[in-house]
Symmetry: C2
Subunit: 516 residues, 2 copies
């Protein structure tokens, strides 16, 4: 057994089933070992941003890490932007990066880089493997780090991958949550039951079904509202699940929403801040005059934290199906006429199947969707946690591989789709059930909105050049066909509803270009 | 005048003419200033790897920096792989990265990253701007750093871009080469005139016409051979220019080529090392038994160094047109039948126009081209200096913008093209005269060769999945059309010659998919 085989056996025994890879010569022993070690399926991404974005989507859905196998510093660098989103989502994710043989480092060969400087920018756990004998322990530690909701990056020199280690031991990954902090629970329970107007702000694991159910009990017992951040990594929602208000993107709206609360208890979410700094507006959305309590920040299981808090509040189990707490089934009808962001959202909400995974990178076009889809059949929503565009296309790939029995709908802005357009090829190769709804507004519309905020009403040629995606307009149906994914182009709500209805009836990838 | 205007005025006065950009809210003041300050044309890349790769191609051709305008850490991260190539090429390149407002940093907003950790991995010069009053000096220093053959990265907080600075001074960029080291020259002259079998190994600026002419004088005076590294960043070559032997890619061939020399004088090239570490083969290609002399390593102008060395050797100016020193005109004929790497290279060498810029990322398909093209009309060759794939597509964009009067031929491997395929859109938008010759062998063939070296003769399903680009084969003509670039698909040498001949007669972008 060589180092590469030890690496994969350790990962497989810890539950890793998929390796999203774009490998080179320095990872060749691991590529070869993928066929001698059982249990890990290799999936090729033809650009590393696809691999890391897919590993993010997989980790969010599966709740356990996929492995991304990356080639030296440049390969890792190509994956950083989507690892940034994964880091902000708290996704469990394992990177393995091949490095030159230790004895070759001093040669400063063309591909040599400071890989550790790059991994450090996005990893909660990182290590450079020191010898083949350490590989199993390193992989076990990395997976434990990943299971804590982190990007874990292990750099493995080529010579260590090749080294034979007869009789090497395979080490198991050990991970456990920290114990609940009783005083923290008491403080939160007091604040919520004090009669003050309160919000319970959920993030990360708190937005999974069990966390939401505990939050519903807390709401029933205290009257608090349930809210979440602007870009939650993963949430279960729809008819029969608790209503959750989402913080708006622009600061004035976000402040308007939260300023009504005297107390905000934050469970797994980031302290809410404005997305960018706007002169004259405080970065922190919860003001100093409001009480802010963060719970479960010390590595606890947020589901257990919320269940404990519900218990402290003597909230009965099995909350009654109150429409104030739970969303009733409420599908919109299908609208007519030229497509707008609202009509796109209405059609999607009208037709999305129960159990769908909705990957939302619709950005400005998708703004109305969250409200409109509140009462659709139960589904999972994934959003762009780190704001690093190009997350949606590969995230859909990873989600589809994690949940092959569920349809994945990627609600996707055109400017963002261009960043990782190569994802379409992996959808075609793996036959993934991903429906890409491509919002083709042919501009970076968020920048147009920011220019308007900055008072620019008649932009000059350089501004227009940097904000417009027209001239030429991209023909998304041709691009998708080139990568092996069939598609259709629509301009009206009726056409969109027809195309979406038809493609949802058969599995496999499909792209609908919605010209807005 | 605000900070953003000061930034652009300083850059424009130092000679910056093009800004390859993908900007966001944190760069908005600079985007706006691009229309109020004269002299800098904004070019949109719809992915940052396009922007930095284009800035690399531009800098190689123009010999002065373009500016890449990038959005925070994730935007910069997307550009790192091609900045790595630029760093290895010694390209003058100016990055400007927008950062959150200084007072917003502590909020740890979603897009917040450690940008300096990222810039540090590829920049020879870097700084985070400390105030609007420092912007002009910072830009001047950055451009001076770039002109020394470095990637220079300046991080500018959003509030500093916005800040008004009435009466601010615009500071000029000052750059000068270091003085020549007389003792170094003496030592090199002695080694070359000692009668030992010698090679003069050129890199960077030494491969420009004046450097080559000086090298030809040295060869005429001493009988040394002129060689270059495996992946030179820029070289002028063809009929009437000095012959230069290029170091082969695989180590056995490279050692075979250089082992015949008792002395190697290195002028501007890296100390030659194997591309990867191969067990049993030394990293350094020049052995300890060979004399190795590096000249001009202290920031000197390599052209002046070579001219000085030629003077020390009393080499007459105006070397006689000896076929042993200069390549005679020698165009191959057009071959017939199914395309191979050799036939592709023969057709290209038969038809490439005088003054063409050949961007070579043909990799395995392109291996025969260098030899075959030695006697074609004078042209410029750019190669993948850092081994980070995805350089060719954007490099061609930048070269075409630097030299709009010259045809650019991008000899491009399919696996690599996928990394920065979005470059096609910028070609279409800017109407660039770039002809993409797409080598579609539908595999990472270099990995197939490495697997063969590793003794893997019957690869399993995971290996095949990670090495093959078939299933589905990419339809490059459709992909190009989707991005607005017309194309054609060819399978024989005759078809390829016909398509290449036709497209060279009219300007504008075109893609020829060569199915191998």
């Amino acid at each position: 057994m060589n180092g590469a085989e030890i690496l994969l056996r350790t990962a497989a025994e810890a539950g890793v089933e998929v390796c999203f890879a774009n490998a080179g010569t320095t990872e060749l022993p691991i590529v070869i070992a993928l066929d001698s070690v059982q249990g890990i399926k290799a999936v090729l991404g033809v650009f590393e941003g696809v691999c890391t974005g897919a590993a993010d989507g997989y980790g969010r859905m599966a709740g356990k890490p996929a492995m991304a196998l990356l080639h030296l510093g440049p390969g890792f660098a190509n994956g950083i932007a989507n690892l940034h989103n994964a880091r902000r989502a708290g996704t469990p994710l394992l990177n393995v990066i091949g490095e030159h043989a230790t004895w070759h480092r001093a040669a400063d060969a063309p591909l040599t880089m400071d890989i550790e400087a790059l991994t450090g920018a996005v990893s909660g756990w990182q290590r450079t493997n020191a010898s083949a004998g350490h590989i199993s322990g390193d992989v076990a530690d990395a997976i434990a780090g990943a299971l804590a909701g982190q990007v874990a990056s292990l750099i493995v020199p080529h010579d260590h991958q090749l080294r034979e280690c007869p009789g090497a031991e395979i080490i198991g990954a050990r991970f456990s949550f920290a114990p609940i902090d009783g005083r923290e629970m008491e403080r939160a329970a007091q604040a919520l039951s004090s009669g003050k107007k309160a919000a319970l702000m959920l993030g990360r694991r708190a937005l999974r079904k069990r966390g939401l159910e505990a939050a519903a009990r807390i709401k029933a017992a205290t009257g608090c509202n349930i809210v979440t951040e602007t870009f939650p990594g993963y949430m279960e929602r729809g008819a029969g699940l608790p209503r959750v208000s989402r913080l708006p993107y622009f600061p004035e709206d976000a402040i308007a929403m939260l300023s009504g609360y005297e107390t905000v208890v934050i469970a797994g979410a980031h302290d809410p801040v404005t997305f960018f700094g706007y002169e004259g507006i405080d970065s922190f959305i919860i003001s100093r005059n409001q009480e802010k309590i963060q719970i479960g920040t010390g590595g606890q299981d947020m589901v257990a934290v919320l269940e404990n808090l519900a218990g402290s509040l003597r909230a009965p189990k099995g909350t009654a199906m109150d429409d104030h707490i739970f969303a009733p089934l409420n599908r919109p009808g299908i609208p007519a006429g030229e497509l707008t962001g609202e009509k796109v959202s209405l059609v999607l909400a009208a037709l999305q199947p129960e159990g769908a995974i909705i990957v939302d990178e619709g950005l400005t076009t998708g703004f109305p969707y969250y409200q409109i889809a509140a009462g659709t059949p139960p589904h999972t929503l994934l959003t762009i946690t780190g704001g690093s565009i190009g997350y949606g296309m590969p995230c859909a790939v990873g989600a589809a591989l994690a949940c092959p029995e569920r349809p994945v709908i990627n609600f996707q802005a055109d400017g963002s789709a261009l960043y990782t357009v190569q994802s379409l090829w992996t959808e075609a190769r793996e036959g993934l059930n991903v429906k890409t709804l491509l919002c083709s507004n042919r501009s970076y519309h968020i920048l147009e909105m920011e220019l308007e905020r900055a008072g620019i009403t008649s932009p000059g040629p350089n501004i227009r050049s940097l904000v417009g995606l027209d001239g030429p307009a991209i023909d998304w149906v041709k691009v998708a066909a080139g990568f092996g994914v069939p598609g259709a182009s629509v301009r009206t709500a009726e056409e969109f509803a027809g195309a979406l209805g038809r493609t949802l009836e058969e599995p496999g990838p499909f792209l609908i270009e919605m010209i807005l």
